[in-house]
Assembly symmetry: C2
Amino acid sequence: MSGQLWIVGLGPGARNLMPAQTAKAIGAADVVIGYSGYFDGIADLVAGKACIALPLGEETERAAVAIGHAREGRRVCVISSGDAGIYGMASLVLETLARRPGDVMPEVSIVPGISAVNACAALLGAPLGHDFAVISLSDLLTPWERIERRLHAAAEADFVLAILNPQSRRRDWQLPRAREILLGHRSPETPVGYVRNAYRPEQAVWLGTLQTMAEQPADMFTTVIVGNTQTREFRGRMVTPRGYPSSETRS
Amino acid sequence: MSGQLWIVGLGPGARNLMPAQTAKAIGAADVVIGYSGYFDGIADLVAGKACIALPLGEETERAAVAIGHAREGRRVCVISSGDAGIYGMASLVLETLARRPGDVMPEVSIVPGISAVNACAALLGAPLGHDFAVISLSDLLTPWERIERRLHAAAEADFVLAILNPQSRRRDWQLPRAREILLGHRSPETPVGYVRNAYRPEQAVWLGTLQTMAEQPADMFTTVIVGNTQTREFRGRMVTPRGYPSSETRS
């Protein structure tokens, strides 16, 4: 007998930004699995359920445990922050299932959520009004050369950039290096926004430029958005227009 | 006296994917402004309010009308589909305000939402498990040369691609041209997903490859997601692993 496996993202943190479908999936589960820090905000939803809290870094274990329970016929919900599909648990669970294709397949449902990218953009204004690229600076599972190639490509092709995992205690040179690469393609006056802990009590929003970001601290809870050549600041908001000046278009 | 201006996205369509904060902003407004097609799904929320429905193509007018009402002291909510910050009304409203910086500035709040990108990814599996680029193929306000440069850059740097506005009645050659560019950098076997009308009654999900997508119809309601070199299909799901094979990493 095969069980049911939901993979959901809790959104940026504020409960009123989590859609009803997510709460419903958590409510329907027998077993809820996620990083220990995620359970506080949803205590009412998980009351009476088996909650399996695993520390950061044990994502692979979370996926394996969730699949194990689902294969035993249970109704399991794996929780991520943000959107489970964007650097979240969704790909890890599906990857883990794909590694043993002969095994019983539980029914898998993924519920979309509001990612850190959507949330931070809303707090900064409208920086994602045009084409954008999302890049994680974590080189734990991706060779740094590949990340650098992406930074060059996105900067050269005038994408707005959303940078996740910009810095951690052990990774301190990647963001300065990314800034250096971007400065090779864009003006030092290009607007840059930092959002830390979006929609949480400790939320902090900073708006500056490629020049001034050098002084601004970042960590694993920070998302950095770098404007394209059209992005402007207006009264503390970052705005990327939805097009290019008409002289440039085909008209 | 200056009013209040909310800019919200309704999400992909299903009401249970719209967070409570969005419903609250609509509920608090005196005037709700948006494309006529958006009002049916939120009839209960807008009952008794002044609803201003403007046709597709009149986005600039919607922004101007919303600002006008807010400047007269009203509480105004502008509605987009998906996330208002991603090719939505947020940048257009802020751009319009910035064009007359001396005027009274209403208080502006942007509520994040679940974009078409998040929604389509969830229906396809987990294609956005790694770095990705979001590109609109509409060359109405962006020169095609710039769009092409972005397609080349994103393909060459191994981004997953989310393609919005792939095709319309008047624009029929852009998606085939994008496919041609992508085939210059990626295998014909690269997984490609199409989602039309995500989370609406007419929802359609198709999973194929760069090779087979040539036969698949698309329109303005379709989002196309093209995998990177690591993306695989597994039992009808598109999965992009969260990293590269360990032989390639620094470790």
